[in-house]
């Protein structure tokens, strides 16, 4: 379980949000939506302590992550898989090695075991014949899928997706959404999806958190979102041009 408690973040004089409270229960998928610049990705980076807050705290499985030693924090971070907005693949190594990267450093697996695990993960994201490709030769959708394969290779409990469908065509976006659903159902992973793609929200989310006006403005299930009397939320949904 991830508990975000009274979190506040400023960049210099600029307030991102304050008094942010959100609990993500095991097994659920929470979509965090909001306008560009509302601090969705900043919130995501607090969940595994890539950024530190000015106020408040985050607890992962009961541990306050900002008070941990580096070794303890490493163990917490390894419970997470993260799919970054641009996939953040290492361009000095090929696709296979990108996925194998954490296995080589953090496990004592033999080469054959590493190979089997990497191929299994690439197969899960439908890229089983792409291992030898350089990352620069991959399309945007493929890069995201390789990023996803790398995110799941260490069998994380939590998956954080930062704009998983941004910059992709509708068909590829749907493939990524299918993958998120598939991973959730097959691996029982708890997921947080940062997005402003309402189509994606409707496909993958159990609950929705809406960040607006520098705070968590609304939180509820998909069904509750459909009938929510929250003007700014409805504006946001309407602007997405999806009938719900």
């Amino acid at each position: 379980m991830i508990e975000i408690q009274h979190l506040g973040k400023w960049f210099g004089e600029h307030k991102i949000w304050e008094d942010m409270n959100l609990t993500i229960h095991d097994g659920e998928t929470v979509a965090v939506i909001g306008k560009s610049g509302s601090g969705k990705s900043v919130l995501l980076k607090h969940m595994n302590a890539l950024l530190h807050p000015d106020t408040g705290t985050v607890k992962v499985d009961g541990n306050e992550i900002f008070n941990l030693s580096y070794v303890q924090l490493r163990l917490v971070r390894q419970k997470f898989g993260v799919l970054f907005q641009g996939a953040a693949l290492f361009d000095s190594i090929d696709t296979f090695e990108n996925v194998a990267f954490p296995l080589r450093y953090f496990t004592k697996m033999k080469e054959t075991q590493i190979r089997d695990r990497v191929l299994e993960c690439l197969d899960m994201v439908n890229l089983n014949d792409m291992g030898k490709k350089k990352t620069s030769e991959l399309s945007g959708g493929m890069r995201k899928r390789v990023g996803l394969a790398r995110a799941i290779v260490m069998q994380p409990r939590y998956l954080l997706y930062d704009e998983p469908t941004s910059g992709l065509d509708p068909v590829t976006s749907d493939e990524i959404n299918d993958l998120i659903i598939h991973l959730k159902e097959s691996l029982k992973i708890t997921s947080v999806v940062i997005t402003h793609d309402m189509h994606s929200v409707l496909r993958v989310a159990d609950n929705v958190a809406f960040i607006d006006d520098k705070k968590l403005s609304w939180y509820g299930t998909l069904d509750e979102m459909r009938v929510a009397k929250h003007e700014r939320l409805q504006e946001f949904i309407k602007a997405s041009e999806y009938k719900i």
Binding site: K45, N48, L50, Q78, F84, A88, Y105, F106
Partner: protein, 245 residues
């Protein structure tokens, strides 16, 4: 205020690197590849820079020493000692602040703005251990070797220039070089190149590691890394000369 903030962040990065130096298994592989990229790949350009510096210095010294009372072997002594004490370390440092410093700042800056540094951290790596330590270690280990290549290039260049211009024979050059050879000169040059290696790689890592603002930010980090490296090399050169000579 900004200067103090920058110094503070630089010291913090070095502290973080020092603290995690024992995690050798994390940066072992990177260290060897960085030693090749920083050292082996720079030997050619450094030897070439030394060769031409030695050649030009020989021609200029012979031009200035026109008196018939001064033995021609003095040219060899001046050139070889200048190369060993000052020019080999300085010329290679200035050349490599561009070649090595710019590469490091660009690599780390691009990794920072494309979230690759965040990806490393999120996997459980200490990104400083993984990225900064091998680059700085490679610098301090390989710069003395590069210095020796440049010094050898300088003495060979001086010899060749003296021979082709008719200013002095190789035998006269080497006679002067041997007569005024002091082992401390080589030790001093190696100490300087060790310090210059640290200055260039640590400043470039610092600028690249904290780069922000997309492609423009990476460009700015690279320029700053190169310019600052040059300034601090000159400053370090002065301080070392004042203390050790």
């Amino acid at each position: 205020m900004l200067l103090f903030s920058e110094i503070g962040r630089y010291c913090r990065l070095l502290y973080e690197a020092l603290r995690s130096m024992t995690e050798f298994h994390t940066y072992r592989q990177n260290l060897f590849s960085e030693m090749v990229k920083t050292g082996i790949d720079s030997l050619g350009i450094s030897a070439l820079a030394g060769l031409f510096t030695g050649a030009v210095l020989t021609i200029q010294t012979s031009y200035q020493l026109t008196s018939s009372f001064v033995d021609k072997s003095a040219i060899g002594a001046i050139v070889s000692q200048s190369m060993l004490v000052e020019l080999s370390a300085m010329v290679t440092a200035l050349v490599l602040s561009g070649r090595v410093g710019a590469r490091i700042a660009t690599e780390l800056g691009t990794m920072r703005v494309s979230e690759q540094v965040d990806a490393l951290e999120s996997m459980g790596f200490n990104s400083v251990t993984f990225l900064v330590i091998p680059r700085v270690f490679a610098g301090v280990l390989m710069f003395p070797i590069i210095y020796m290549a440049a010094a050898a290039g300088g003495i060979i260049g001086g010899n060749l220039a003296g021979m082709f211009t008719g200013a002095l024979t190789p035998a006269e050059f080497m006679e002067g070089a041997r007569a005024f050879f002091f082992p401390w000169d080589v030790a001093f040059g190696m100490i300087k190149s060790f310090v210059f290696g640290f200055v260039i790689t640590s400043i470039s890592c610092f600028k690249g590691y904290y780069a922000s603002g997309g492609a423009e930010g990476v460009g700015r980090a690279t320029t700053n890394a190169t310019v600052l490296s040059c300034i601090y090399i000159l400053l370090a050169d002065f301080i070392l000369a004042a203390i050790l000579l």
